[in-house]
């Protein structure tokens, strides 16, 4: 069999190394991939502009930037570890209890547990400060790092809860059954089967929570903490050194990259067979009355501390104030802006997620690019977008920031800031897509766009809806970019609440803050319904 003789093969140059190198360089470029590249560039541009601006040298920045940077990094790290760790633990435990145990009120709590997501961190922070600081009703004051970590943990755990619920129910059921047949006790099943299998989902949800914490300015500032976020503004506002601010901001962006990397590698090789098998409704563990009450109390506690209590406090303030100043217009503006922003961001996020899934280099880079903005404070992203518009103006492409351009910049900032929040759930939804399905569609002659429209999008449809709802709520809550980039006489609820709160009129701020929550409620409930349904 001469054909087997390697020396007769005519390609001596094709060593494995050179071949591998050649393949790395050759990117598969089709329309969708090109679209993803463009989407990624659009989403990353503001953050990237910040990085470039930060490279401009500045003498003053070095003088105090170093100490600020160090203290900010320590503060952010502590908050990420404790606040983020808390959110992950609370979310995972709640999801497990709801998915695997039977206890009183479980069905209702499964819905309610998601509510804290509708409340912005800064609103929770103001409410808890009002409740527990001097003059408040609580004997324990929530202050400092522990206080802020608590606020983040109870406010952000739903990211993990949502992701883990779906994972526990959908992916792990057969493994859980197997573990049970092997005689594993409930706790064993959780630790050794359910948790490891849900790890990618928990990592994805946890990464969102961690990046929210890193980007948060309002709550950290009100608690008087030095984090990377507050350091950015300290340098920018107090020291009048936008340069140093940008440099600290780029540290924040680097942190985002690290978080993304951790999240991506946590999922790593855990690839799921698409599987047409339906999850069986594994029987739930019947808890003893005491354990059942403990489980119910735990979940109730999360809902109370993450949503009910601070909202009750806000409601009390709003009632004390008694009158609501023309709130309808900001409400309309908020909803309009959130819908438009969510729609645009969703398109970008979908293209990026699909291409990332197809595992091209562009897709992977795109996923990182989209994630960059998520850990950056909105004001920094807005600054980056403004800087790019400034460049465009200097180049003579545009004459200035008209109302239409300001809105464009605002939607752009939203996309840059939140694309990652959309990519994550869509990507999770696409794990249902076995690699073979894309291949099957290709062998049946479907080009990239047709596969996107006919295969990826419909299969990920529930996730797309979920991503859209998350984006809607995120943008509804967004403050700093909205504040700086909106057109004249265009107040949103968040802007209105901020205006009052910054003037220390918490009573007046309560009503718009409460309305942000109420407006986010319906999407959150829809989202829960979707997740719980798909989990069944």
């Amino acid at each position: 069999m001469t054909a087997l003789d390697p020396t007769t093969a005519s390609l001596e140059s094709a060593t494995p190394q050179s071949v591998a190198r050649a393949r790395r360089l050759k990117l598969r470029l089709d329309g969708v991939t090109a679209g993803a590249a463009i989407a990624a560039i659009i989403c990353a541009a503001p953050a990237f502009a910040v990085l470039v601006l930060a490279l401009w040298p500045s003498d003053n920045a070095a003088a105090f930037g170093g100490a600020l940077l160090r203290d900010g990094a320590v503060g952010t790290l502590l908050l990420v570890v404790f606040g983020g760790g808390g959110a992950i633990a609370l979310g995972a435990i709640a999801a497990w209890l709801v998915a695997a145990c039977a206890f009183p009120g479980r069905r209702l709590l499964a819905w309610l547990l998601v509510l804290p997501l509708a409340a912005p961190s800064y609103v929770l922070a103001y409410a808890y400060a009002g409740m527990t600081w001097a003059g408040g009703a609580s004997p324990v004051a929530l202050t400092g790092i522990p206080g802020a970590a608590f606020v983040y943990a109870v406010g952000l755990y739903p990211y993990v809860y949502l992701a883990a619920s779906a994972a526990f129910a959908r992916r792990s059921s057969s493994a859980i059954e197997a573990a049970r047949t092997l005689g594993a006790k409930p706790l064993d099943v959780f630790w050794r089967a359910a948790l490891p299998l849900a790890r990618p989902a928990i990592a994805a949800g946890g990464a969102l929570a961690l990046m929210e914490i890193a980007a948060d300015y309002g709550a950290a500032h009100h608690f008087g903490l030095t984090t990377l976020s507050t350091a950015v503004f300290r340098a920018w506002y107090a020291h009048g050194e936008p340069q140093a601010a940008l440099q600290i901001a780029s540290a924040l962006l680097a942190a985002a990259l690290v978080l993304l990397w951790i999240e991506r590698s946590a999922r790593g090789r855990a690839s799921y067979a698409g599987g047409l098998t339906r999850a069986h409704d594994t029987g739930r563990y019947a808890l003893s009355p005491v354990a059942g009450i403990a489980a119910a109390s735990f979940c109730t506690g999360l809902v109370v501390f993450g949503a009910a209590l601070p909202l009750a406090w806000l409601a009390r303030l709003a009632l004390l104030h008694g009158q609501v100043e023309d709130i309808l217009e900001p409400l309309g503006n908020s909803i309009l802006l959130a819908m438009g922003g969510a729609a645009v961001t969703l398109v970008f996020a979908t293209i990026i997620a699909v291409v990332a899934r197809r595992a091209g280099a562009i897709g992977r880079i795109g996923a990182y690019a989209a994630g960059l903005g998520y850990a950056a404070p909105g004001a920094v992203i807005a600054l980056g977008a403004l800087a790019l518009f400034g460049l465009a103006r200097d180049a003579g492409w545009i004459s200035g920031l008209s109302a239409a351009l300001a809105l464009t910049a605002l939607v752009w900032a939203y996309a840059a800031r939140f694309a990652a929040a959309g990519v994550q759930p869509i990507d999770a939804g696409l794990t249902r897509l076995s690699k073979g399905i894309d291949a099957a569609a290709r062998t049946l002659g479907a080009n990239a766009w047709r596969r996107l429209a006919r295969i990826d999008a419909p299969i990920a449809a529930p996730s797309l809806a979920a991503a859209g709802l998350i984006l809607f709520v995120e943008i509804l809550k967004e403050l700093p970019a909205t504040l700086i980039l909106r057109p004249f006489d265009f107040d949103t609820l968040a802007v209105r609440a901020y205006a009052y709160a910054s003037d220390e009129r918490l009573l007046e701020a309560a009503a718009p803050a409460l309305l942000i929550f109420v407006a986010g409620l319906l999407p959150m409930l829809l989202l829960t319904r979707g997740v719980l349904k798909s989990a069944r």
Binding site: M1, L11, V19, K26, G274, A440, R442, T443, N447
Partner: protein, 338 residues
């Protein structure tokens, strides 16, 4: 219709060669089986032919048309080569009919639906046209996947372990049905399997792969009767292996000699003897250890000269505790040992 010609194809993952200079030809309108153990690279061959991965060296052609070379990879969607995936890869959000119609995008709607139904009918699943994949049994899913691959009238169809997920009864039934469908379609077919029985019964030609190399390319009868290597012999059915040397132009086994005209005198050899090439008669030469039913045969394990051997005899052949053994040279092959 044209042959598919695979020439000197290599494929590396990192530094490892998944395929290392593979060449063979799939004849037009015939069924070719790629047989090999796990990790032999047989599924990779399919993916390369389908255009799902590029080749790192060599070429793949259909007739005169170049499909793959290191510089050029015709995208899968432009190849018109159908694939039935191992897990079927049915689109979970589409019904059986919609799955089959997926590849018929160029046709008007009614024609597309009609064609899809026709194809479902040909695989006997017309009544399940509206069912979603998760509502279908494993066998039904496989048939939908086959109909889907054939519906766009591809130049060839590739099947990746098409029967592996099925129980043995269903398997034989489905294999015959599939082959019949393919024969009616008169389409060039490549299928991958690790099951020798599937390969021997279904294929017009066998390509045996191991560790990324082709061991033999031959018709099933020829491969079975004249294996190119010990590995090929072992891959196609149970064998017994004797080690020895060439003496007087023949290799000795405990049960007789096999002539080796083409091997040098004194060379170390291995003799492969098919289990059915040993004949047992009541006698004294060997001791019977066990007799087990093996389909139409009994698998008899015997002990002789300090070794254990496997023999296939017609079922229920009466044997005593001891037997005599004769060897049919047609079922014995001598290979020079390394």
């Amino acid at each position: 219709m044209s042959d598919i010609v695979i020439r000197d194809v290599r494929r590396c993952y990192g530094l490892a060669h998944a395929l290392d200079g593979v060449s063979f030809t799939a004849d037009a309108g015939k069924v070719l089986a790629l047989l090999g153990p796990s990790g032999s690279g047989k599924s990779t061959v399919l993916r390369l032919i389908a255009g799902l991965e590029p080749v790192d060296a060599g070429s793949i052609r259909v007739g005169d048309e170049l499909l793959s070379s290191p510089q050029h990879t015709l995208p899968a969607e432009a190849r018109r080569i159908g694939v039935v995936f191992q897990d079927y890869a049915l689109f979970p959000h589409l019904t059986a009919a919609e799955n089959v119609a997926f590849g018929l995008a160029g046709l008007p709607r009614t024609e597309r639906e009609q064609s899809a139904l026709n194809w479902l009918d040909r695989v006997g699943l017309k009544r399940r046209a509206g069912a979603y994949p998760h509502e279908l049994s494993g066998g039904e899913q496989q048939r939908v996947a086959l109909a889907r691959a054939l519906a766009p009238t591809p130049r060839a169809v590739l099947l990746d372990e098409p029967f592996s997920g099925l129980d043995s009864v269903l398997r034989a039934e489905l294999r015959d049905a599939t082959l019949q469908t393919l024969a009616e379609a008169k389409i060039t077919t490549l299928f991958v399997t690790h099951d020798a029985e599937d390969a021997l019964q279904a294929a017009d030609k066998l390509v045996l792969l191991k560790a990324g190399r082709v061991l033999q390319e031959a018709a099933p009868r020829h491969a079975y009767d004249a294996p190119a290597s010990l590995e090929v012999a072992a891959a196609l059915g149970p064998i017994n292996v004797f080690a020895g040397r060439v003496l007087n132009g023949a290799a000795a086994t405990p049960f007789g000699t096999v002539f080796t005209p083409h091997l040098p005198e004194g060379a170390p050899v291995q003799v492969a003897v098919r289990a059915e090439a040993l004949r047992l008669t009541p006698g004294s030469q060997a001791r019977v250890l066990s007799v087990r039913p093996h389909g139409a045969h009994d698998l008899v394990r015997i002990e002789a000269n300090g070794g254990a051997w496997r023999v296939l005899t017609p079922a229920r052949t009466p044997l005593g505790e001891r037997v005599d053994v004769t060897l049919d040279p047609a079922g014995a092959f001598v290979f020079q040992a390394d």
